[in-house]
Symmetry: none
């Protein structure tokens, strides 16, 4: 039996609360150019003290050597196998979920860009000069007023930041297997929405008509005079947190993608700020509403992606300073880890195992004296696939029945 | 998705070279009679210095407690699941590939022995007194002159060492599911080639006729007056290294079996000597031709099989002395491990996890101070299935794309 099926079979309810704090990309490497990691160097007395009263270990995000994107990295943390085609969440759906929009089984979503074409219809700017968000909102409002339905489909257009928007078509039913219209380069016209399967032909036709209608409406705009669509997709069929784990789960993440993944797993996306010192108070306000709290800190990953070890150290120290506020809520189980490593020397996501800390009254206090990659290598939890982490958290919360008599 | 399918999907090409140095059977055990292993006792300053600048860990050859033969041990290292029936490489094919012979999908191969029967047709020596290789070559030459084709099949007979030869039948098409004719004991006649399935009946008939023809030709020889066949087999359908991993792979192994496995995986078998000090110069001469170099050192296993700890220590020290020549080639990734352990106290292959060293600019320099079984147990790479090693090597070489957005 798969691990997740076993958990679904054994999960029970109780009053114990679980907090999963994801420091995105927290893992790092020691190498010739960087003899110590951000965790090695940061002054994080609260994390280190917690480590001494916790069990440490490491998780492997997908499998040995595989570097995950943010979507697969989080799906693993939440217990799913991200290599399962059923778990493939399209970018359009992710974006829509991240904006807090509901997507039903017959709906489809796409990411949109406003862009600029010249008099010959060739793209000269795929982001319309990054028009201000207010400008985007004005255009979307006009389009939405004109386009609330089209050919039997309910149309919803929602503004994002700068040139970005999300297009949702409700009650379409036909397949979303349609190629992007963004050619990913300038000097050529936007592509037609090409169906990849015969099932998707009605969808492609509908999208082409909607694009033509939008383009006609904005043809006289100085910059945002055309639209590009990407990531046309339908919601994945992921078993939901409440059914799987009997958890009322809340997601506290400041960025759309992470909200999107959490939403697809059945978590309630709670609006909150982007920084840990903003997130923790929102968690406190919602403490009675949930059993499971997913907290996402993006800035560790951002610093790693920028190759900026100093910034990564600073983020860790900021998190450490706020940690006592989170501990004051007295979660039954607190896990701190990342969805993958983002080593500063690589300036990108990587495959390296990610340090994990699990604190609970029954976690096994091992000999690890600090929260670092090297300490975690020696920890009681060992090194295991990230998608088994939920089992460990439920177990520590007393939320799994015994298997067999 | 299986790990190997994931690798095939994500593998990309670049200029980085990977060297996999297999010290056959290198792993050993500490026990009452042997308180320190060969790696513990050997003076290997170069390996130990490399360990300090590398990540260590351990691989499990097949799965917990399973002792692999050399074929399965190497298939795992190369990323395949040796328990998959598709990965079952017959001994005849292994022997033929090891001699550098090509085996097509409609061909079959068998290992042959010249043997001695008495006047009643009963075996008195299954190896014909280990006749000299020159004698074997003389007999094979005569047989080949007579038997270039038989009943529509192209026949190829190739001399091996002493009493051994390989028989290849080309364009047979029918199944190779035919039992050995070697009864594995003396005092009885050779067995008839018995078909295990109805599909294999034509093959069995053909082989019986060929055996009769060969036996008639050598009936008057003083020692080599009959032939025995074993391991009748067809080539496996293994995905090839170039397709799977986008690697131009070269095998540098002094012994036929290892060449055979490497050839079955799509590596080019490069003729080379049997000792590490002979292998490394051949690698250097071919450095521009490949992206992946499989180097095989047999003598560690041989010493273990002989229960000779002293000899195993000496082989390790010889390898250590030549290691700087390999490092001077500056491979992007260098991995050193074994296909299994061959503990001297057991004088045989074993199931114990095998120490692994991975050196690259981004490998994570852990706290291990030497290359030993005990140090590797504490290493950053943890303990993982050998068949995931290729993922780690490709990742360290920057040859895997990110999985998902």
């Amino acid at each position: 039996m798969n691990h997740i099926d076993l958990l679904a079979r054994l999960a029970v309810e109780n009053q114990n609360r679980i907090v999963l704090l994801v420091l995105d990309g927290v893992g790092d490497i020691r190498c010739a150019d960087q003899p110590a990691t951000a965790l090695d160097r940061a002054e994080i007395p609260n994390l280190d003290a917690l480590a001494r009263a916790s069990a440490l270990g490491r998780i492997v995000p997908v499998s040995t050597g595989i570097t995950p994107g943010s979507g697969p990295g989080h799906l693993s943390l939440f217990g799913y196998d991200p290599t399962d085609p059923e778990a493939d969440i399209g970018r359009g759906v992710l974006e829509a979920l991240g904006l807090g929009l509901k997507i039903g089984p017959d709906d489809l979503a796409a990411r949109g860009n406003f862009a600029t074409v010249d008099a010959d219809g060739n793209l000269i700017d795929r982001r319309a000069g990054r028009i201000p968000t207010s400008e985007c909102e004005r255009l979307v409002e006009a389009i939405q007023a004109d386009l609330s339905s089209f050919d039997g489909a309910e149309v919803e257009v929602v503004a994002g930041e700068e040139h970005r928007f999300v297009l949702i078509l409700r009650g379409v039913g036909s397949s979303a297997e349609v190629d992007d219209t963004d050619p990913q380069k300038t000097g050529v016209p936007p592509l037609a929405p090409h169906p990849r399967t015969a099932d998707a032909e009605p969808t492609a036709t509908l999208l082409a008509d909607i694009i033509a209608r939008m383009n006609a409406m904005i043809a006289d705009e100085p910059k945002a005079n055309t639209v590009l669509l990407r990531g046309v997709s339908q919601p994945p069929h992921l078993p939901q947190f409440s059914d799987l784990y009997h958890l009322r789960a809340g997601a506290f993440a400041g960025y759309p993608l992470y909200r999107g993944v959490a939403g697809a797993c059945g978590m309630e996306v709670v609006p909150c700020g982007k920084y840990f010192h903003e997130i923790v108070p929102t968690v406190r306000e919602n403490w009675e509403r949930f059993d499971f709290f997913f907290l996402h800190v993006k800035q560790t990953d951002k610093a790693g992606e920028d190759g900026n070890l100093k910034a990564k150290i600073e983020v860790l120290e900021q998190v450490d300073a706020v940690l006592p506020e989170l501990l004051a809520l007295e979660p039954s189980v607190l896990a701190i880890t990342g969805d993958h490593s983002t080593p500063a020397p690589l300036a990108s996501h990587s495959w390296h195992p990610v340090p994990l800390l699990v604190h609970s009254p029954v976690c096994f206090r091992d000999d690890c004296q600090e929260f670092t990659e090297a300490a975690a290598t020696q920890g009681h939890l060992g090194t295991f696939p990230a998608r088994e982490l939920m089992g460990l958290l439920l177990a520590n919360a007393g939320r799994l029945a015994k298997f067999g008599a």
